[in-house]
Symmetry: C2
């Protein structure tokens, strides 16, 4: 019987799956919706399932092949024991499932193997370094408690700044007019519209914040500078591990490029592959038995 490998990368906006044959060639790809355990475990499992079904269909295989398929799954938050357990206990039907953080599979993808460092600035944010058996996560605290410099963080800061400006309690900003246009609303209507917003909703405002900063708006400029300064500090911490390579990933990678310090920029290498390909490399390395670490991914990290 043929053995298959699935690499799955969950994120706040999309879940992507790549299916490979034993020789490593990619034979199918699938995309589905949001797969972030911080937002919903059930939704995460649904999205993983949907991306896998789409990848199987793309490859012309049926669900019966799942039990010959080893899956590498990268998801936010699984460094926390409670999330890890809930997802590991899911009756997935794979031959085996190897679960780690979205950051670790991104690192495998960016560097084509286990060693290196990554910073991610997308809907959420986080960083990861793996060098000589040391593995460490920075940030990745989720929207409520962290995600500094992420798209959700930028959009959220911007909405708060607009509300402060409308109260005459903070400097006025071009963002007020931008949001009045995109949201069609001002004042109390912004609150009404945004109070149940998801991180993804806030993240949709991030490009407007970069644009306003580029046009010289001081409030937007301060928000972007705050995010860039955080990423510079993260990059310095990661570099202390002397990683062979370091990459900046995520939807805001190019937007931040103009705002990072020269030192950070010099140290960054372009990512080699996408995170879902990293998840494939991860599961193949786990099956081969290299780079073994504890089944509970949280146990492998230094404090």
């Amino acid at each position: 019987m043929q053995t298959y490998f699935l690499g799955i990368d969950g994120g706040g906006s999309k879940c992507r799956a790549s299916l490979s044959a034993e020789d490593g060639s990619i034979i199918g790809r699938g995309i589905s919706g949001s797969a972030n355990p911080f937002q919903s475990i059930d939704r995460t499992i649904e999205s993983v399932t949907a991306s896998v079904a789409a990848a199987l269909e793309d490859a012309g295989l049926n669900e019966g092949q799942l039990r010959y398929t080893h899956a590498g799954v990268g998801l936010a938050g699984v460094n926390m024991p409670s999330f890890y357990r809930k997802i590991a206990d899911w009756p997935h039907g794979f031959a085996s499932m190897h679960l780690t953080t979205d950051l670790e599979v991104a690192c495998y993808g960016a560097h084509g193997g286990p060693h290196g460092a990554v910073m991610v600035a997308g809907t959420g944010s986080g960083a990861f370094v793996s060098v000589n058996g040391q593995r460490r996560i920075y940030g990745a605290h989720g929207f409520t408690l962290g995600d500094t410099a992420s798209g959700a963080w930028l959009g959220h800061k911007a909405v708060r700044a607009v509300l402060r400006a409308e109260d005459g309690l903070g400097p006025s900003t071009a963002l007020s007019a931008v949001f009045a246009e995109t949201a069609g609303k001002r004042g109390v209507n912004i609150i009404e519209r945004m109070m149940t917003s998801t991180p993804r909703d806030f993240a949709t405002l991030a490009p407007a914040v970069f644009d306003a900063a580029a046009d010289g708006d001081a409030v937007a400029g301060d928000i972007v500078a705050g995010g860039a300064s955080y990423l510079d500090r993260v990059a310095r911490r990661l570099w202390e591990y002397d990683p062979p390579r370091m990459s900046l990933l995520g939807g805001l990678r190019e937007r931040y490029a103009n705002h990072l310090s020269g030192t950070t920029l010099e140290r960054l290498s372009p990512p080699a592959e996408q995170p879902e390909v990293g998840a494939l490399l991860y599961v193949r390395s786990r099956i081969r038995g290299d780079n073994r670490h504890d089944a509970d991914v949280s146990a492998g990290f230094s404090e």
Copy 2:
């Protein structure tokens, strides 16, 4: 038939009701749980109902008296049309219900009538001024979008600072040890514990932030100074309306006293009565027909 009045003040932690006879004497009081529409409309209505039932019982009256009772109800967020409608449409059974913001009833209570200014720093935050027909809310944006200087804001800032310190991405702080003791946890366990925290949970950490600031912790000191500086700015805006009196209200009133500017402190007067008594004054004034304004409270505010 005797006519009664109910004054109800909903908040993020508690809902309080006072029942008065026609002569104004208070004949019953009731307390129940959280009544903040930002958190849950259903829970808010349950808590209002429970506080009213307790006040009726305290007065030795039964529910049959409700239809001879005029209720003044102050709740967060009802300046937003959607919240206003949902609560106004509730089949309350009162002779009449007069719904306004928690801030307006607090203002009636603090100053014994409709005119004056209030700032509230409790679980949430907000400010209100009513002078010569002008009525304006500042802040009161709810936890996700505002509540600057509130207990929830202080606790949330502190947790983020602790997580940044643990990542070596921010200054170390005595708050880390305090939270390790109160939460019994560090690092990823703080996230696991706090990621589903309510504003009220964050607000329980606020006294520890004031204590650490008093003990000289720079991180806690900066957080408290940020809250105090916001309240100073709010106080300046309120004072521009030339209110007859201005008060600082809420659970953090005394904790902030050492941190506000001398100018703000000089302008503050002690509150005369509690907000639920303010809600009684409010409903009686509405029934008498003074100070009439639009039924939709949001329509009465200047932008």
